[in-house]
Amino acid sequence: MNRQSFTRLLVALLAGVIFGFGLSLSGMINPARITGFLDIASGRWDPSLMFVLGGAVIVAAPGVMLQRRMAKPVLDAQFHLPEKTRIDAQLLAGSAIFGIGWGLAGFCPGPAISALSTGLVPVALFVCAMAAGMILHDRILPRILP
């Protein structure tokens, strides 16, 4: 491993720590807060998680503007960005399925993995089921479906 790819690992680790800390500080790691946010008609709607997305986008947007002015990232030869631009049925169906699961248990992938460090058994069960779902989609469904 050369020095640049080792530094990339350290940056990925640091980005993960900041992300996990941000999830904890913001309350996004707490399923009760997520369902309290999504359940808008409950009469005790918790809008604070809008500030999480808002705060994230406020910081990420100038970063994206900076990135667009760069020929390449600091530690790699090129950017690795999604290339698809079409809104297709797969995108919408997948997002719809994800939203149902998110509303059901109040966990999305980042907070669920981060919350594993609390040692709660239901969190581990969720992450195992999520990994199974990913493997089902990526490896098993393509063999069954035409």
């Binding site: 993960g16 941000g22 904890s24 790691i29 604070s48 997305l53 248990a105 779902g133």
Partner: protein, 135 residues
């Protein structure tokens, strides 16, 4: 203190993390993509590093604040398992989740991510109260 300020500050840290990964490593901080690639055996080292950090975040929070972050489970075990499956299949089919689409996709003003985010917010808003009744 209202939860708005920590929510805003925490959100800004999520944005900072995403910018760091984008500008320095040239990659999208999308957790479902990172986990999916890891499960597929791709780019193991950087993805393991990010996930290790993700696990360390709440521990650092506990050290800093003297108490762990609140994590209140709202669903029964069968519903947790069903929800995990749906989140796993859905995020891979839809090429992203709350981080990749919801934060970076929105910040990049990607039409695909805006559509995905509107869709999972909509079905989440429909699912949460319906499931609240059976939880």
């Amino acid at each position: 203190m209202t939860p708005y300020l920590p929510s805003l500050a925490g959100g800004m840290l999520l944005g900072l993390s995403a910018v760091l990964l984008l500008v320095v490593n040239g990659r999208i901080a999308g957790v479902s993509g990172i986990v999916g690639r890891l499960l597929g055996g791709q780019q193991i080292a950087p993805n393991v590093a990010f996930i290790a950090g993700l696990l360390a975040g709440p521990i650092l929070y506990t050290t800093a604040y003297g108490r762990p972050p609140e994590v209140t489970i709202v669903a029964s075990t069968p519903l947790i398992l069903a929800a995990g499956l749906l989140v796993g299949v859905g995020t891979r089919m839809g090429s992203g989740c709350t981080s990749g689409h919801g934060i970076l996709g929105v910040a990049r003003f990607s039409k695909r991510s805006l559509a995905a985010t509107a869709t999972f917010l909509a079905t989440g808003i429909v699912a949460a109260p319906v499931m609240g009744a059976v939880r």
